[in-house]
Each structure stands twice: as structure tokens, then as C-alpha cells.
Symmetry: D3
Subunit: 252 residues, 6 copies
């Protein structure tokens, strides 16, 4: 099967890191290829930048010519996941929701380590929206910008390790999620020192999509994820216009 | 004070209807003026069209030259409310959240009447996100498109009355919310026949904004609604680019 | 419009402080006048004293001759709010619920600073009853009696500032509520030092009532806030007896 | 042990019916005696009448000379339970909360049959306040006033049976609560026809109090049910004044 | 009445301690006798050992010849409570759920002190399953094995006292539950130093069962606790086989 | 990879049906083999039979000699899942939790169709325990025993179709779960007539396990799923005794 990794950030290096991680976890017969957005922030870090990113993700996917069987949303706010799930006929999963699903299959309650106090509300809102709050034991913020993470990775790893251990000791978490696309891949570096599973959303998302693709559900004909009526939207890119005119087109 | 009514739909007639309703409920010294989006759907009716609408709302507000003291989001999914709240220094309220606030100040639990089964999940998700689900008694869908509402208004009113009374009798609602920008103003037509308050989001939103504006809170310097770091976003309109470069600019 | 500020405490000085705050926030065309209870505690500080206060509030309102368009309950337990809302035809709002409504329109989750550990359960129960618990991030108690607050206001302000900052830093609150009529007005003194909006229930309540009054809902004819059947209650004050005989009388 | 059955209604006949039921379920060495309020409604049927009842209950208990080891609140809104629990040193239980406790020890989820649509919100609010909403499967209203219940008991029993069976069949309840002091004792008449346990709050409350009394907890010295500071309350009955001056006096 | 105390642990000494505690709290006319399991762990301390314990409890009860009117499950995970409640015609209560019921009749929110971090999730899951999470203020783990508790009881008591006081001070608990059969009876030793009621599940359970037995509900004929269809189970002990063939046999 | 399908029922025909379904959905390089219990009911249909089944599942797995990389629990109550997850080093998933995870990745809220009113509480309790209740839209019971399902499959399919459509129309479900091992495979027969995805727990579980196995988490060293201390359990089968003596042995 072919998974499209759709990055809501425009950063080339994050896209590469996400793709590496996705491929690392994919089944042998799974191909992963990536697309990044043309508009928006290098690293989305606010609700307003996320709005631009969501739009750009729709524009981007409308231009993808290569076939794909599933879409992995590679931005940790799970930006545009429900819009894409509605518009397309193939499975769509976000990296943070995927991590929550896996966390609740390996433990009782989970913790979240995340960079930047500003983000704490965003992730909590996402977890509430998915209905996972009853399984959320706690969150810890590491005060480290993406830039700082890259500048002094050893210190960042130390901060992440300390936050992780504090969640295990103080909140009795059975699993930990490292949130944020900027942290992708770091779970493998801290896992040896942490006594519970440490989860990465990309790794989890690849598996969830492989499962969903094999289940091969028909596109809903009713409910909130059924094909929206073909709509004419003004002043948008022709490719996107085409997608709205023929939603879920891949299956028809 | 001056309220900007920002319509996420591109329909001129809905914009006028919303503006009429807003002005009907505004205090004598409140001025309301409207802006509608340049891109997107006439009437947003899907999650994917909402993504375009959200982006278009940011673009639109970036070009508004007239001063305003508050923003009323005139699309019943409360599209882009949290992004605007973050980006601006003035109060921002969505029409559906406003109705929920008012409903819970006049009754114990409320009901929602909404057009189109597809929308039931959207409104529930919004109500859950706002934390009002403990106060939601029930929802009733009227199977009537916006087009049908306009084509046969008498029949639509009958459907709305029946759904409203069913919520009062069967779910013991103390208040009712008519959801959907397309229903704006109809609450006044059915109120005489319905034994509990019937709420319209625009009417409620104007009042909430007048209150918020008078409270005159400073723009947060911490937390998830603090001013986001000035960000450079690629490939966006210069006006929007300027807004991201100087968020919350009206106060600085 | 005219707002009746009904203080459930018998303290003259608190009544004056509440009235000052209410007037400070009222619209130019809003008149606020106050009534305090004849029976009960100077400062209600227990569930049992609250029972006396609730009764006294009904007795008091039954004797008010001046017309009013809305009632602001000036006791932070929101004492008798639902009884008054049922009995009267005009909007009634409590100061703590009003603050919660405003808090959730300016931020994601809010914190509460409150005086006296005894009160922690009272406020939480009120917040749960209103359905706002999903938006409550945390509470901090300052161990300071009303007497101490007045005796050493500088120290009290310091305690409040520290508790507020701790809620912002530790619980990622986007807004803070200062609970307790005894703290009325202090929000303005600490706001300059606190990076998120600091809310006062009286200030918030005035605005909510102005909004509700303008919406001008009919008195419910069904549901739990409909006019109760005219009832004969034994051994009560004639004025109160009259109110029960003709509930919601102002509108009939 | 001695249980004081404190009726918040002033009706002599309801008091007798409650007392009969309480004695029917008491252990051999338990004595139950009743007190009814001097002020207020014959049958409390509104939030405002409940405020009078609560005050009258405090006045009444302040004059009780006979010793007692526990208080059963005989009004189905559980009026004044938390105030009495705070003020006294002996256990206090309300009839509706008691039924909820028992219901959740005999089944998974329970249903509630209640008279009068107006009451639906009251009972739900009480159940939410107690934290039992996750165990509430549904409610059914029988449209029958207390007067009608007495005028045509056979028809009322039929309505109650039908509502009960509907809750078992439609909501899969494992237990049923008949709410409302006016229905006291009817559970025994319908039990033979209903396939799950039918609970009466008075019957349940007596047992809960016997258990609590034997556990013999000390009066809390901290927390929200600790002895409130001795308070001077103005313009109240001398006996009640004495109770506030020496709360929890029976144990000191 | 006769209560069967069914210990899911095979430890003779814990059985004796539980029985002593149960008798200490029983009414004069209540007889308590104990049975312990033949299979399984001395002290159940894992989910997997609990599975063995549950099975052993069914085997054990199938062989009890003495009549009993109620069953108290003496293992703090409330192991097999719902299975026993289904299979038998008499009331069945677990020690932890019983403590939760009592806690919520004496206070607003309660805390839990428990031995061993491994157990924190177990107790929380049990409290969530019972629906008491809205009333749970917090948990504190004392890092002390059952062995350590017995080896240095003074130190253990000190740890329990400290954890208890921390819950009162930091979480504003109105009541405390000591969880774990291994702690049985210790509540009396720490109560003098702790300012809120300290609850023991066995003490609470005896009272709940005395109440339930007196209510004398019929065995449900519908719902999830009705008599299961007589079932033939392969390869089980003849006595247990007989119980499955004639469930709820004591009443038929 | 190799998945062990562990059936908690002793029925040979159900085991075969589950195995067929599992293999139908497995990846090409996944091998599935089944084991069924030696003790207990042909078809588990009560909480008490489930206790026997859980024990038998542990006994059974202790004797499995063939290697396996994951365990799929093939009984729709998800019997013993948490015990197995604790005891083993490989991933363990239950068929009902797996279906809930998938349902919430393809829709907003889901419905459950289940056979036998007795089971409604069991499935709800399981869904609550997993934390999925916020996403549960409703349940419909088909009154059809497993025997009736086999005797008149056409009628059963009609009942299932009707219940499914009712959940879509009345509760606005975006996905449906057919609960109960006895219904395994029927989802494919009704899918063509139902407008939203119809989920089967076995199909979903296979995919979840393939994902979890590839993620290859270390066995937790802390938390509630860490390796339990090696324990000596009395009077159990030597093979099971060995498993308790060396839990998680496959990985060490």
C-alpha cells in the first residue's frame, strides 16, 4: 500500500525527519511518500498559523498526482484531519490521535510531554475532542523552542527524560506520548532510560493506517463523514476546485 | 463600540440577514458592520468547506481598515474563532458558543434544532469542545436544506416548531437554540408558539461581545491566547502576512 | 435598564463595595441599586449560613418596590440564583457563574483563586453544577480570612498574586477568577502583574445581565424555570407570601 | 439508635406516610421520630418553595429537644442536606441520594420515575451533584400531580408501572427509583409487577443512616464539612441562633 | 442476619484481620463468618493473580454449606463482585465500592491512600467503573509492600498519616479511604491524628450489606443482574457446576 | 508475525468462525492460530461464566508451546485482556476495544448493535472502562439468542440491518460495531445495505495487533502493566504456576 505523509509545516527538514520515521515503522510492502505545504509557517506554532496550514494542506493534496491508499497527517495538532477524512475516500489519521489510540492499548492512563507552554491547551483540546481525556493522566511542558531543541539536543533530551520520569513517578502513567512534530524520532533516544513505552505519533500513525486500509471500508453514504455534496467554491485554486467538485473521487 | 460581523459564508443574502439580526439586538451606542469572505462556499456545509472559510476569514480580516472593538463570527460552526481570538487583541465570539452561554443562564438544560443530519456531529463536537455537553439535553434534525428553507418557509417553520416542541416535551429542555446561519431570525417567528426561550446565536453574540468589550481585558501575555510570536508565513497575501507579522496590532 | 444588586451578606461595607464595582462596569444607560438582607450573617461563610441567606434574599426581594429589569446575585456561592430565576420574570445571574461564562469566552481553561480552604468544595460544587468543570484547570486557596484581607491588604494582594501566577505557570490557565465577594475589586490591583485576564464576578455579571435583558425572553411557560403554580406557604412574611401568590408578577 | 425524620414539607399526611415507611424499614433497635416544618409549602414543588423549606428545616431542628443519632431528610430534593451535615455532628442523609447509593449497589445503571415534568431538571441536578450521572440510564415523567395521585391511586399506579417497565425495556435499567415524597410506599405496590428492584428513598435512607451511625466518625476538623466558625446571625429565631453559636453541639 | 466474608486472598492472617474488623462493626444481631480461597495468591497484587482469585472465589462459595444473607468481598479490588451479584440471590458488596459510597455521604470529595504504585491504576479503574470519579479528589501512594507494613508498622503508620494529611491539605478532601486489605484496621490508629473521617472498606461494607439485606429486594428477573440462564460449564468442580446449574438457588 | 487468537468460549464452531475472520483480515506475512479454553461455557453469556473463562484463558495460554508475537482475545467482553497484557511481554488486544479504536478513527460517534438485552450493560461497562463513552452515540439490542441466530440467519440479518439503520437515522452514528463473537463475519453481509462502515472486532483486532507488534515496545518496568513480581500461587496447574513464576518470559 502507499501512504501519503502530508506535512502541515513547510519545513523541508521536518518533512524529511517525519518521512524517515514513517518509513522506519512501515511494513515491508508499504511505501511512504511525503508532501509538504506550499503556504504557511516553517513550523506551525499557533492556532492562526494552523488555519493557513489547513488550507494549504487541502490545496496540496488536490495537486497530488501519485496514487495513495491512506493519508498520515504529519502535524501534531492533527490539523485538517476531519476535513480530509470527509473529502477523501481513503483513511486519514493524525499523528496525535494515533498516539492516543496506541497509548490506550498498552496502558491504563498515559502522559504527554510537549514543548512550549503555549501548546498545552492545544494538545489538551485535541485529546478532549478525541474523547481520550478519561485516559490522560497528566502533561508536562518542556520549555524549549524547536530552535533550542536543535541547538542543544543533549539538553533537550535531558529535559524530556526528566519530564517523562516525573509523569511516571507522579501521575502513574503507563505510557508516554512525545507530542510535537519537532520531537519526531526522539522517543527512540529516551526509551532506554524510561520504564514505560514512549510513543511517537508518526510511528503509531503508520500502523493505524495500514490497519484501516486493509479493513477497506466503503466511503460513508450517510453521517458526518459521508461525501459532501459537490460544491462550487469561489476564488480557489483550480485543482482544489476540482477536488470539491468531485470529492472522494479516488473511489468513484 | 463597533462590532465587526465576520461571515464565513460568501453569500451576500445571509450576510445581510445576519447583519440585520445583529443590529436588531445591539445596544444604541453599538455599531455593527459586516464583512464576508472572498473565497469559499456560498453556504458552508461541510468540514472541508469550513477549512477554506477559516483561511478566507483570516485573509478578510487582514484587509479590514475600519476600526472595530470586537468580532462576531457569523458562521454557526464558530469557524476560526480560536485563531482570531489568538491573533487579535479584541474580543471574539462565535454565534453557537454565544447561544450556549445564554442558554445556560436561562435554563437547566437546552436543546438544539438544526438543519440537515450531516450537521448533527459538527454541532455536538462544537458543544463538547466548549464544555457545554453536561447541559445539552438533546438535538433534533430538520431534514431541510437551506434551499428548501427559503423555497417553502412556512413548511420549514412548521418543522422547526415541531422539533422544538418535541425537545421541550421529550427532553425537558428549558431553552432552545436554533443552529445554523441559514435559520437566522426565525427564532422570533416561532417564539410565540414555543413555551421556553428560543435563542439565536447572532442575537446572543452581540450581547456577549458588548459585555466583553466593556470588561476591557488586556491581551494575554501568557497562555494559549497570548500573542503568538511574530511569524513569517510563506506564499500568503501581503495583508495577511502583515497580520502575522504584527498580531494583536491594534493594541500595540 | 435597572439592575438590582442583591447581596446575600448583611454587611453594609461589602454591599457598598459590590455596588461600586457593579456601577464601574455598567453601561452608561444602566442604573444599579443594591439591597442587602435583613437576616443572616455579615459575611456568609458556611453552607448553613447560606440557607438563611437564601431565605432572606427571597424575603428581601419581595419587599423591593423600585422596578428592576434584572437581578445580580452578589454572593459568590450564587445563593438562591435558581430560585430567583424561577420566581421572577426578569433575568437573574450569580457572580460566580457569570465569571465562568466570561472566562470560557476569553481562554481555554481557567483557574480560581479563593480565600479559605473551607470554601474550595463550595466553589467546585458550583462550577460542577454549572457544567464548567471541563474548563476548570485548577484552584488555589489563599489562607486568609476576610478580616485578615482587610487588616493587611498588601499581604493579601501578595498572596493572591502568587496564587494567580502559580495557576498560570503550573496549570496553564488562560484566565483567572477571583472568587469571593470579599475580594471584590482586587482584580484591578493585581491585573497589571498577571499575564492573563483576571476576572471579577460582579464586573462579569453586570454585562451578562445587560445582554440577557436586551434579549428580552418571555417567561418560560414550560420546563423547570416556568412560573411555579401559585402556592400558599404558611408562616411567612406577607410580602413574601404575596410573591409566591403572584410569581413573575412584574410581567403579567 | 434514634433517627430524626425531618420533613421539609409541612403536610401532616406526608409526614405520617414517610414515618410509616421509615419505621417499616428500621432495624429493631432503631427508633424513628418525625418533625415537620412550621413554615413553607404543604408539598414543596418548586425551587423557590424549597428555599423556604430549607430555612424552616434549620429552624425546626434547632428546636428539637429529643436526642437523635442521625437525620433523614424527608424531601426528595434532598433539601438542606449539606447544610445540616455541616452544622450537626451526626450523620445526615437525603432520601434521593440514599436511593442512588443503593441503586448502584444492586445494578449497573438505574432509572428514575418522577411525577411532574417540572421536576425532571431538579432530580437530574441532584443526581449530577452527587456524581451519579454516569449510572443514570434514564428518567420517565408521569404527568400526575400529587393531588391526582391521591384522587385516583389505581390510575397512578398504572402510570408508574408503565413508566417503570419502559425504563427496563428501553434503557436496560437494573434498578428503579421512585422519586418524590408523594410516592412514598408505592414501590411495594408495583414491585410484584416489575422485574428489577424498585427503590424508595426513605427505605434506603434509614439503612444508610444506621450504617453511618455505627461507623461513628468524628466530626471533621477540616474540610468543607468541618464545624463552621461560631457565627452571629442577625434577625433569626433564638433557637436557631443558638445552633449557629454552638454548631455540632451534640458532640462537644 | 449472617454475612459471609469472602476473602479473595489465601492468607490466613489477612482473613482473620478482615473478620475481626467486620465483627467490630457489625450490628449485635449480625453474625459474620469468613471463607478464604483455596487457590491463588497469599496476597493478590496483580491483575493476573486477581483472575485466579475470582475463579477461586466462585469455587469457594459453591462449597459453602452454612446459610448466609449477604456476601462481603474482602479483597480491595472488589474482585468478582459483579459475577457474585449476578449468580446469587443475596446482596453482594465489595470493600472498596462500599468505602466510596460512605465517603460520598460524609463529604464532598474524598482521597485514597494506597500501598504500592502498581496499584494506583487498579483503584482508579475501580472508582471509575463505579462512577465515583467526579468525587475523587486525589490519590497518594505509600511505597510500602505488605511485608514492609508488617515489619515496621510504626513507619508505615507514619507514611499513611503523612499521605492522608497531604490529601486533606493539598486536595481539600473531606474524607479518606485507606485502600488495600493489608491496611485493614489501621484507620482506627490514624484517625485521632487526621482531621477528616478515615474509612475502611470492611467497616463500611458490613453496614451497606446490613442495609441491603433489610431492603430485601427480589432477585432481578430482567437486566444485567437477572438470573443467568442455567448453563453447563465444562471441566469445573462439581460444586461450582451445581451453582451454575441452579444460580440464585438460595431463594428459589 | 504470529498472532494467537485466544477464544474464551469453548465452542469449536465459534473458534473456527473467529479464526476464519482473523485470517481474512491478516496481512500476508501474518500467521494466525487459535486456542480455545478447556474449561467453561460453550458461549459465555454471563458475568459469572466470564470469571471461569478468564481463568481458563490463563491456564490455556500457559500451555501454548508455539511462539506468538501478539494475542487477540476472541470474546467480546474482552475477558482477561488486562491480566494477559500484564502477564505477557507481547501485545494483547480485545475484540471490542479494537472495534472502538477503529470506529473513532473513521467517524465522530459510533453505535453498537448487540444480541440480548442482558448484554447491554456489559458492553457499556467495557466501553466506559476504555474511556470511549464520549464517542458512543447509542446501542440497539436485537432480541435473538445465539441459537436463534444460527437457526434463522436471514431473520437475524434483518434484525441487525434494522437496528443498524435505526442507529444511523436516529443517533447520527458515523460507524457501527456489531458486538458479540456470535455475530462474527456478519458485518460483511450487512455492509452493502448500511450507509456507514460496519465494524467487526476480530477484523479490527488483527490490524491493531500487527501495528502494536511492529512498534515493538519494551515490556514496562513501571506502572500497572509492568511485570508483576514473581508470585507463588497455590493449587493451580503447573503450567500456569510456571507462567506466574516467570511472567513475560518470552522476552527475557
Amino acid at each position: 500500500m502507499r501512504i501519503l505523509l502530508l506535512n502541515g509545516n513547510t519545513s523541508e527538514s521536518i518533512t524529511r525527519a517525519l518521512l524517515t520515521e514513517a518509513r522506519h515503522n512501515a511494513a515491508p510492502d508499504t511505501t511512504v511518500f511525503a508532501a509538504k505545504c506550499a503556504r504557511g509557517a516553517e513550523v506551525v506554532a499557533s492556532r492562526s498559523a494552523e488555519v493557513v496550514s489547513a488550507y494549504s494542506m487541502l490545496e496540496t493534496i488536490a495537486t497530488i498526482k501519485e496514487p495513495y491508499d491512506a493519508v498520515l497527517v504529519g502535524i501534531s495538532y492533527d490539523t485538517a484531519v476531519s476535513a480530509l477524512r470527509e473529502l477523501l475516500a481513503v483513511p486519514v489519521v493524525g499523528m496525535t490521535e494515533a498516539a492516543c489510540h496506541v497509548a490506550t492499548m498498552v496502558g491504563s492512563r498515559f502522559g504527554v510531554v510537549l514543548p512550549g507552554a503555549r501548546n498545552a491547551a492545544f494538545y489538551r483540546e485535541r485529546i478532549v475532542a478525541c474523547g481520550f481525556e478519561p485516559r490522560l493522566a497528566g502533561m508536562r511542558v518542556i520549555d524549549s523552542s524547536a530552535a533550542a531543541l536543535y541547538a542543544d539536543p543533549e539538553n533537550s533530551l535531558k529535559l524530556i527524560r526528566n519530564a517523562s520520569q516525573a509523569l511516571v513517578d507522579g501521575e502513574h502513567c503507563d505510557a508516554l506520548i512525545l507530542a510535537g512534530a519537532a520531537l519526531v524520532g526522539l522517543h527512540r533516544k529516551i526509551q532506554p532510560d524510561i520504564p514505560v513505552p514512549v510513543l511517537d505519533g508518526i510511528a503509531c500513525g503508520v500502523g493505524m493506517l495500514e490497519s484501516l486500509a486493509r479493513l477497506n471500508f466503503p466511503k460513508p453514504q450517510a453521517g458526518s463523514y459521508s461525501v459532501p455534496a459537490s460544491a462550487e467554491l469561489g476564488n480557489i485554486d483550480p485543482a482544489l476546485s476540482g477536488l470539491f467538485a468531485h470529492p472522494a473521487g479516488q473511489q468513484s
